[in-house]
Every structure is written in structure tokens, then in C-alpha cells.
């Protein structure tokens, strides 16, 4: 398993940096494994994973015990790899995370405080205490939290504990957006016009914004990943943005410095992978396109970018390398660029850590069978023999990398893996960004991947401004791992609680195929087969994005979501034939349930069931429109006539399984029946979107016409919490007059501050919350007259 091996490498190398003597790495065996794995067979995949895992030399001196200062998906991956390497692991957790997956997986676990991150996962003192208590020799920070915290790195150094990640100076230089921009400028990297400095107050923010010219982006100096970032189009929004961003920055990073810069309209977000060694060498690798974003957080990632040409790719790569060399970068990292429609690109920031969402490069690794590195990079045995101390690239690598001109390994050129331990041309060097510790499918080596798409799957309700956080208990959870070309990285299991305190990301869903079309088809399939119950999620949105014609053509930008869904995402819009399919499936399901309800056993007093009735006349309501359906069945096959057109529906009709595979006129569909009520209401997830239908027999539908409409609450005069969270501020009091759209209060949930505004102009009648309150979804906040 290359991922495992990579992990090994990273950990061993880290060890070497500390007290542990350099050891020989068994790269050749790994790479040979890579080469000889047979095609296509799932069993073989499994076998090769095992082969991969023995690629690590068990005699290698490694850490005995490391502490993972993170939670969720990344912590799980780190622990998994450590387990296979025989390294003991220590998990840290907050009290609400006590029974989460990463805690269960680790050998030891230490509670570092209560739920809020600032008191637990960001609590350096408590974590240092945990390190001392458990005698962990090193700390793996994962991503987010303390991964780019120089203070933490300094504390660790003081205790002689190894920080598994890049050097402090690089974290410091690149972690600070202002400093990184200055450095970038010095290294002749294109930067975005803007104000490089600390912004003191809202008025200064406005002045700077005017100088730069609207629109501007306001963001936290210390933050990454879109947290604390806001776009302002005028003075008022600048003031708002300054206030919210600085609060958010303070609560997430304990550092409320901000910077303001020109907002590039309609840009693409493309990032370049770089790799540096301790000898001043650096090289660049392929890009990932992460243009589909929501609130500056990546929603869809794709590699390679459909937009870049070889020339731009090279230019970006060279600048990325220049930057890496400028900070003496000795690790794997990502240089993020904004690219405008004319392929002008601007440096955005450099991530000196793992990426949340990126796994694509792992696939490329398999393609070329190249070496992978984590935050700490590792040479091949031969290179090691040459250099002896600290990792250094091979002469051949240096040849390219040293000049900063490494040609981008375009995957389409890699028709087969060519890796040889003894011959390690840099063209095949690709980077695994996720600190080398990821579950990694070695057998993919024999397939080749031109493309793959990666989704962070969030517990978010996509219908509320593309996804506000949703919390709850995962009553059912099933990953689509039975499908080919699918990988899921997650840190949850059925029964997990999703709390308001942490990142709502639940998993990364990755699919890959021999071309973009196949990768996307597999993604759609995987999304249909993903079972997540108990919390809302953004599958509907994700599935919609990948079938959107603009996305398919590659015509995307970071404004994709707001451009394509200007009035908010409303779910998949059914075509006529899709609608007929849905109605046919729903009515077949209804009849299947009804037929099953007749099948009683062991009761002699039950009436003799009469021969099957030929036709079921049903009336289905979908989106307030009533459709007439006639269904008849023979065995498991249904013939359904929907509004006059006939469809054949077949399935196993197993009514207990969460996934139902149905064939409609030969088209294969996977649907999920989420709920079914005796009154005829049924929720069906079809093409990613959940449709609510009401199915009644013809008679019941006729009588249903006499039923009275229930009166619903007028919602414009009440403000309810759209999600569970904590009230940060309340801006009004009873008697105040508010204008429509005026901010009434701010709710923080999952580390995002959400401004709640008035739905209409009026007088505040009553306020039902105060700062500091914890509110649930649907809780009444403020009433207007």
C-alpha cells in the first residue's frame, strides 16, 4: 500500500530529524509491487494492498508512539497507517467526541477539554499535557487546528517532541497571509493587488477597500480554507465583513488580524503541488482545480484541470517552485492560484500542510508509480545512499527540479506505470499531499487515471444557501465502496453524532476513471449509492454540479454556484422522462408495499387472497401536480402507465434495504426510499435529490379533495434559527424598527458565523435569544410586529 508506505516514509524521516538514526527504506519492493499488480480484479486489489503493506520494512526504526492532534477523517487515516506500522497512537478528543471513531481506533486517548475547539483541539496546554502523560515522541497535526500553528510547533520543539510537518519557519512564513504575499512578491510570483498589512478597524478597512477598488476580499491573516473570508462590494459590506471576519478569525485562530485585497471576479481556483528538499531543491507537480466553492470552501476538486494548457501549467509550476525555494521549503505543500479567464494567474496562498480535500494526487502516484512524500520528504534508497543525511532529490530530479523546470507529468501521457526503484525519473514524481498517510489503493497502478473528482461530503443542507450546517445522529450510514473506482475517506460510522462544534465535513468521496467522463459517471453512481440518514447533506447539490452542462464543458469559476443557482439551489429539475421514471418507481414501490402487506403467515383465519388485481389506479402528487398512474405487476416486473406513457419497472423490491436498484425501461437507477407514511407520503431520493410524493388510490384521492388545507404560519414576521448553533450577537431589542435585510443577530455554527436578517420591514415585537444562547434548528429568535 503506497499510502502506508508513504506514511512510513514520513514518520521515519521525521524520526530521523530527531533522535532516530537514518534507516534504509524498502522502496524497491514497494515499487515492484506497484508494477506487478494485475488489472481490474477486486480480489487483486486486496492482495496488492497487503503486498503494499509489507513494502514497509518492519525492522525500520520508527517512533514507538505518536500523538494525533486532530479528529475525524484525518485522525483516522493517520491512526490506521500507524497501526499497520506498529506505531502506537494517542488520540486526543473533546468530551463530546469521547466515543468517536478516531478515539476508538487509537491505542490511547486523552480528553483535552470541552466541546468548543478553542478549549480542546486548539488547547495547546492541554495537548502538551497529554503528550507528556502519554510519552508520545511525535505529534501529527493533520490539517486545520494546530497544523499551521507556529506557537504549537515551538512548544513541541521545547519539549523535544517531533512535529510531523514542515519546518517552523515555513509554517510561519506561509501561514501568515501578509508575510507570504511579501515573500511571493520578492520571488517574482504574481500577486493580487491589495493591502498587505494589518487592518485596525472598520473605517480603515473601508479606506483600503476604496483604494484597491471594489470588490474586495477580507480575510483572516492566520486562517486558511476560506474561514474568515468575506467579499465586500461596497462600504457597508466592508464594515460588516471586517467585523464578522475578525470575530471569526479570533474564535478560530485566536488571531484577529485581517487583510484586504482585490477580489478577482470570476476566477478559477487552481493549485499546484510542490515539493522541496533540505538541499534547496524544489519541484512542482500537477495541479488540482478547486473552482467549485461555497463560501470559499472547496466543494468539488478535480485533477487535472480541464482549463490549463501546458504553457500556463508550466508558468504556474515554475512560480510555485520559485516560492517554495524562496522559503526553503523542505516538504510537500500546495501553492494556490487564482486564474482569470485570460489565464492570468495570481498567487493566493501556500498551504504548508495537508489539504482537507485532496486525494487526487495519490491516484497520479499510482499512475506513475512515483515516490510520494508527506510533509517530510524521503529519498529512495539510492538517493539516501548518496546523501546520507536529510532527504535529497536524485541527481536526475535535481536536474529538473533544481532548475525549477520540472515538466508537469501530464497524466494522459502516462499510459503505464514506469516506476523502477533504480531509475526514478522526475517526470514520474508525483506527490501525495495528505502527509503520506492515506489509504491508498496500490493496484490502481495498473489502471491509469486521467481524471478524478473529489468531493468533500458535508452534513449540510444544500437548500439553505448552498448548505448551512446540519447536525444530528447518523441513524444509517453506508459508503458506496462496492462500486469500482470509488474511494471514501471518512471519520464516522453509523451512530456517530454530528455536533455543532466542528467542521461539518463528513467524508471525501473520490472517484477516478480512465477519463473525465468515466470519473464523473462513477461519481454520480457513488452519490446515488451513498446512504446517509439522520442528518441532511449536500449530495443533491454535488450530484447536480457534476451533471451541469457548464461543469461538464469545464466552464466553471469560483462563482459557479451563485451563477448557476442565482436563487439558491432547489434540487434537481426533472426532465419529463425523469419525472415519469420517478413516478413509475414510486408507484411500483407503493404497490410493492401494499402487496407485501397482504402476505401474512401462520394465520388460518386470514381470508383467501383473491387473484391479483390487474390494475392499480393511483394518483400521485409531486410538486403540487397530480398525476394519474395505472400500475400492473407480474412477479417483480411492473408495467406502469404514467400520464399516458408506459414504462417497465423491475427490481428485487427488497423493502428493507436502504438502496433499491431499479431498472426503468432498461435504465438503471438507484433510489432510496427515505420515508413512507400510511397517509401516502413518501420521500424518495432520486438522482441525488429527495422528492416528496403523495400516493393515494384513486378513491382516496377523490375523497382527499374534500379535506381542508391546514393553515400555515406566516414566516416573514418571525425569525427562526436555520440551524443549530450559538448566538454570538443580537443587534436588536424589542421596539426597534428594522428594515428588510437588516441584520438581527449572528449565529455561529460549525465555525461559521451566519448573519440573520429581517424578512420584512417592521418593529421588533420580542427577542427570544441572547448572546451566548445555544439554539436549535427552528428555534424562534425574534418576532416582528
Amino acid at each position: 500500500m503506497a499510502g502506508l508506505w508513504v506514511g512510513t516514509a514520513a514518520l521515519v524521516a521525521a524520526g530521523r530529524r530527531g533522535r532516530w538514526p537514518p534507516q534504509q527504506l524498502m522502496l524497491s519492493s514497494v515499487l515492484r509491487t506497484l508494477k506487478h499488480v494485475p488489472h481490474y480484479s477486486r480480489q487483486h486489489l486486496m492482495v496488492s494492498r497487503n503486498l503494499g503493506s509489507v513494502g514497509y520494512d518492519p525492522n525500520e526504526k520508527t517512533f514507538d508512539k505518536i500523538l494525533i492532534a486532530n479528529r475525524g477523517e484525518i485522525a483516522c487515516r493517520v491512526i490506521k497507517t500507524c497501526k499497520k506500522m506498529g506505531i502506537k497512537t494517542v488520540a486526543i478528543h473533546s468530551d463530546v467526541d469521547a466515543s468517536s471513531v478516531h478515539v476508538k481506533m487509537a491505542d490511547e486517548a486523552v480528553c483535552v477539554g470541552p466541546a468548543p475547539t478553542s478549549k480542546s483541539y486548539l488547547n495547546v496546554d492541554a495537548i502538551m499535557e497529554a503528550i507528556k502523560k502519554t510519552r508520545a515522541q511525535a505529534v501529527h497535526p493533520g490539517y486545520g487546528f494546530l497544523s499551521e500553528n507556529k506557537e504549537f510547533a515551538r512548544c513541541l520543539a521545547a519539549e523535544d517532541v517531533i512535529f510531523i510537518g514542515p519546518d517552523t519557519h515555513a509554517i510561519q512564513a506561509m501561514g501568515d497571509k501578509i508575510e507570504s504575499k511579501l515573500l511571493a512578491k520578492k520571488a517574482e510570483v504574481n500577486t493580487i493587488p491589495g493591502f498587505d498589512g494589518v487592518v485596525k478597524d472598520a473605517e480603515e478597512a473601508v479606506r483600503i477597500a476604496r483604494e484597491i477598488g471594489y470588490p474586495v476580499m477580507i480575510k483572516a491573516s492566520a486562517g486558511g480554507g476560506g474561514k474568515g473570508m468575506r467579499i465586500a462590494w461596497d462600504d457597508e459590506e466592508t464594515r460588516d465583513g471586517f467585523r464578522l471576519s475578525s470575530q471569526e478569525a479570533a474564535s478560530s485562530f485566536g488571531d484577529d488580524r485581517l487583510l484586504i485585497e482585490k477580489f478577482i471576479d470570476n476566477p478559477r481556483h487552481i493549485e499546484i503541488q510542490v515539493l522541496g528538499d533540505k538541499h534547496g531543491n524544489a519541484l512542482w507537480l500537477n495541479e488540482r482545480e478547486c473552482s467549485i466553492q461555497r463560501r470559499n470552501q472547496k466543494v468539488v476538486e478535480e485533477a487535472p484541470s480541464i482549463f490549463l494548457d501546458a504553457e500556463t501549467r508550466r508558468a504556474m509550476g515554475e512560480q510555485a517552485v520559485a516560492l517554495a525555494r524562496a522559503v526553503k521549503y523542505s516538504s510537500a505543500g500546495t501553492v494556490e492560484f487564482l486564474v482569470d479567464s485570460k489565464k492570468n494567474f495570481y498567487f493566493l496562498e501556500m498551504n504548508t500542510r495537508l489539504q482537507v480535500t485532496t486525494t487526487m494526487h495519490t491516484k497520479k502516484v499510482t499512475t506513475s508509480g512515483a515516490l510520494i512524500v508527506g510533509s517530510v520528504t524521503v529519498p529512495s534508497p539510492k538517493q539516501r545512499q548518496h546523501t546520507g543525511r536529510g532527504w535529497q532529490m536524485s541527481p536526475k530530479q535535481r536536474q529538473h527540479a533544481g532548475r525549477g523546470t520540472s515538466p508537469a507529468p501530464v497524466l494522459s501521457d502516462c499510459t503505464e506505470p514506469k516506476a523502477e526503484a533504480d531509475d526514478f525519473p522526475v517526470t514520474q514524481l508525483l506527490i501525495l499531499k495528505v502527509l503520506g498517510i492515506i489509504r491508498f489503493n496500490l493496484t490502481c497502478a495498473d489502471l491509469y487515471f486521467k481524471d478524478c473528482a473529489s468531493f468533500p461530503l458535508n452534513f449540510q443542507d444544500p437548500y439553505k444557501s448552498f448548505g448551512l450546517p446540519s447536525i444530528g445522529r447518523l441513524s444509517q450510514y453506508q459508503e458506496p465502496l462496492h462500486l469500482p473506482g470509488v474511494r471514501v475517506d471518512s471519520g464516522i460510522q453509523p451512530g456517530s453524532d454530528i455536533s455543532i462544534y466542528y467542521d461539518p465535513m463528513i467524508s471525501k468521496l473520490i472517484t477516478y476513471g480512465c477519463d473525465r467522463t468515466e470519473a464523473l459517471e462513477r461519481m454520480a453512481d457513488a452519490l446515488d449509492n451513498y446512504v446517509i440518514r439522520g442528518v441532511t447533506h449536500n449530495i443533491a447539490l454535488l450530484r447536480e454540479v457534476i451533471i451541469n452542462s457548464r461543469f461538464v464543458k469545464g466552464d466553471i469559476s469560483t462563482k459557479f454556484l451563485s451563477d448557476v443557482y442565482p436563487d439558491g439551489f432547489k434540487g434537481h429539475m426533472l426532465t419529463k422522462s425523469e419525472k415519469n421514471q420517478l413516478l413509475a418507481i414510486a408507484s411500483s414501490l407503493f404497490v410493492a408495499f401494499q402487496l407485501r402487506a397482504q402476505h401474512f403467515q401462520e394465520n388460518s383465519r386470514m381470508p383467501i387472497i383473491k387473484p391479483d388485481i390487474a390494475n392499480w389506479e393511483l394518483s400521485i402528487k409531486l410538486h403540487d401536480k397530480v398525476h394519474t398512474v395505472v400500475a400492473s405487476n407480474s412477479g417483480s416486473a411492473f408495467l406502469v402507465e404514467v400520464d399516458g406513457s408506459k414504462l417497465n419497472v423491475t427490481s428485487t423490491w427488497n423493502l428493507a434495504l436502504p438502496l433499491l436498484s431499479v431498472s426503468v425501461d432498461g435504465t438503471q437507477r438507484t433510489v432510496q426510499c427515505l420515508s413512507r407514511e400510511a397517509g401516502g407520503n413518501m420521500s424518495i431520493q432520486f438522482l441525488g435529490t429527495v422528492y416528496k410524493v403523495n400516493i393515494l388510490t384513486k378513491l382516496a384521492a377523490e375523497l382527499n379533495k374534500f379535506m381542508l388545507e391546514k393553515v400555515t404560519e406566516d414566516t416573514s414576521s418571525v425569525l427562526r434559527s436555520p440551524m443549530p448553533g450559538v448566538v454570538v450577537a443580537v443587534s436588536v431589542k424589542p421596539g426597534d424598527t428594522v428594515a428588510e435585510g437588516q441584520e438581527i443577530c449572528v449565529i455561529e455554527a460549525m465555525k461559521m458565523q451566519n448573519s440573520m436578517t429581517a424578512g420584512k420591514t417592521g418593529t421588533v415585537k420580542s427577542v427570544h435569544c441572547q448572546a451566548g444562547d445555544t439554539v436549535g434548528e427552528g428555534d424562534l429568535l425574534v418576532e416582528l410586529e
Binding site: R473, Q598, F600, N615, W616, A656, L696, L699
Partner: protein, 516 residues
Amino acid sequence: MAAALRVAAAGARLGVLASGLRAATRGLCSQATSVNERIENKRRNALLGGGQRRIDAQHKRGKLTARERISLLLDPGSFVESDMFVEHRCADFGMAADKNKDFTVFGGSLSGAHAQKICKIMDQAITVGAPVIGLNDSGGARIQEGVESLAGYADIFLRNVTASGVIPQISLIMGPCAGGAVYSPALTDFTFMVKDTSYLFITGPDVVKSVTNEDVTQEELGGAKTHTTMSGVAHRAFENDVDALCNLRDFFNYLPLSNQDSAPVRECHDPSDRLVPELDTIVPLESTKAYNMVDIIHSVVDEREFFEIMPNYAKNIIVGFARMNGRTVGIVGNQPKVASGCLDINSSVKGARFVRFCDAFNIPLITFVDVPGFLPGTAQEYGGIIRHGAKLLYAFAEATVPKVTVITRKAYGGAYDVMSSKHLCGDTNYAWPTAEIAVMGAKGAVEIIFKGHENVEAAQAEYIEKFANPFPAAVRGFVDDIIQPSSTRARICCDLDVLASKKVQRPWRKHANIPL
């Protein structure tokens, strides 16, 4: 009870009601047209009698006529074809509506003649063992008929009592049901209501105003919300007539036809040995933290289908029907989310009545226990928690149906005994590893045992070590096994198969004397 449509299916006619409900919609559609034609014909007849205007008025109120309700409740296919006698019976009923002035004509007040019809059908239902469903939409006794209509009520009450425990009796209140009429639903096993259009009260708002000077609306006094959340008179409320009747069909499928029949077993697609990994983490590590017992029930039962009874009343106990490997079971569970799941007066009575229904009709009981004890306080003591709590104790002890108990967390004090414990002849009693079976929680116990001691924390730790776990009960055989939560479903399904042939003989008695 003019409009109270007593639908009884008896003997050979069993097929009517049973297939009407059991067979669900089979045949419903193909026959719907012909039935609709017939309904149309009857409507036309009623029109000739001057009834269309009244029918329209009924519709305008969002309610269906008696015949429409029946057509929805029953399977028209079998209703029409299976037995002419039933047709006659129902026609008779229909005639009753015509002749004796049904609610569309006279506000559904009860006449002697009408009561007689109802009694006749109920007698037959008892004789052959067929359930009775009443669709109530009645204004009360016909004042004009005087004592005769009062006698009519009593005749029906007597049938209700005679039928109690012999055949399931269900009332669906679909309109006003006032005065004496309310006692018939009260005597039946389950009372369901329709939201916004149904009311149950002894005396209406006008009388209340004149007697107690209280201003109250019909809805506040006896609407669906009042009875399903405050009084506990009704077991569930549905959105409208159609929703209610559809749900009634669904509900009916859980019930046996009579006390001579075993619990129905429906075809099941959910594997009986399915493991439920999500249960392994559902009980929080801190014993003070709540979780939702309904989640456990959904995970364990077939296809997550659970028909909850009284979901909005005494929410600290959960009762309802579900299926295990296709077989109907009654579920009782403490709800840690509400009042820590403790037992109080209302929850004891709610639980007791449900347990007795299950026992009367051969429905196995599965009990999920997380109970910190009985609710303390003057309100409870003055209210008689002792005698009310005794009802639940009595009901569990008396029950001879298969009883499987799972202690998920706390089982403290007398409440432990009450909740279908081994000592009350629980057939299989399991504890999850998180179970704490003790006289009381560690804190309280230490305060008593080590009163005045200095090192309270150490004592508390010792108590937890010794008592707050499943071992003391397990070594004594009070729990049969400590099981992994994920295996709960598989274990229960297996036990129910074994216990299907359970037989218990009690000494003869005229009837037991439950502390009412």
C-alpha cells in the same frame, strides 16, 4: 351514536373487514370505479331524500360521509364480492343511516333503534372473534327519545366491556362526540382522533361556561391536541379523515383478530440476524447524558417501522407496535430524553394499559429499560404514584406473553423491578455492557451509606466499581446475558421464535384486581 359506524365482521364475514384491511389495497383500484358508481347511486338516492345539501355541508367542514369513510377503510373489492350477508349488514347499516337519520340529517344523535343495530353487530363480532372499529361522529343522545337513547348507550357500553380483551376494539373520532357517547371510545382499546374536526367531551363549552364560568373553545376543551397531549384520552391524532383512515388500515395490520389468534406475522425482508453496529455507540459514556430511545427501537425492529401509541403524552415512556422478523411485538421503553426516563403517574398508567392490551392479544412484549426510578415529589405522592405505579408493576407481572427485556443503561430501585424484570417472570432479560443495575445511582447511594464520611469521591468510585455495572445482576442470574448492543436484534428475534410456544397457566380466578 347515530354516526358511530360500528363495523364488525364476523364468522364468514371476517373476510370483509380482515381482507379489507389486511389485504390492504389489493383489488381496491380495480373495484374502485364500480364502488364509486355505487356510491354515486347511493348519493343520488340520498339526494332524493333531500340529503345532498347535508353531505355537501359535511364536505365543507372537511369531513367525509359515513359511506365514504367506510369505502376508504375497507377494501371495496372484497367488501362487495365476498359476502352478500355483509353487504346486507352494511346496507342495513346504510339503511340505519337513512331510516334513523344519520348525522347528515340529525347531527348524529343516538336513537334506540340505532343502538340496537350497533349491539347486534358487536354481539356477532364477539361470537366469532372479529375486531370492532367505531367511526364516531355523534352529537350525543337524542333528547327527543329520552331514556330510550340512554338505554341505547348502556347497551353499547355493555358490549364494549364484554368484548374487552376478546376482540380488539378501536374508536376513530371523526367529529364531535359528546356526552354519554364518549364512554364508548373510552372503553375501547384505542381511541384515535382527527385533528381540527373531532372533539371529545362530557359537556360542551356552553355548559362549561354556565357551570364553571370558564371560557373555553371546543378545540381547547376536547380537541385532538388536548386529548393526545394533556388528558391521555386519545392515543393518536391524524391530519384529516383520509389520513386517519389510511393510518387505521396500517395500524390494523399489527393486530390479531381476537384473543384466540396469535400475533400476526407479516412477510419480512429485514434479516432477523441483522447486526446493528450503530447501537454500540448510542448510549453516551456519561450516565447523566440523554439519548433517544426511539433511535434504539427504530434500529432494532423490522425496517425501522414503529407505530407509536400516545407519542405526545407522558413522553418519558414509549409504547407502540413494531415487528420482529415479521411478527407483531409490543414495545415499551423508557425515554431518557424526557424527565430522564423516570416513571411517574401518567407514564405508569400509559405503560400499564399498553402492556395489558398486548397480553390480552398474544402480542410479545419487548422492554427497553433505562430508568433512574420513580419521580419524587409531593405532586406525585399526593397524586398517588404508589397506586398508579403499581398498575405498571401489576401489568408486567400479570402478562404471560413472551417478555424480552433489554437494560440499556440505568435500572435503579423499584423501577428496575417494575420494568419487566426477571423477577416478574421476564422470559429473557439482557443487559448491555453500559447497564447499571442497582438500588440507586452512585451519588445518592454514597450519600446514604457513607453519610458523614470524608472521602466521598473514593466511596463513589468504589460504589460504581461494585454496583454500577451489569455484573451483580448477571452473577445472580437476574439478567440472562450481557450482550453487545449490535447483536440485540438478532438475539431478540431468536428468543421470540423459541418463546412462540410459551404457555403459562394461572390459578383460576373470576378476574384479577388491578389497583385502579
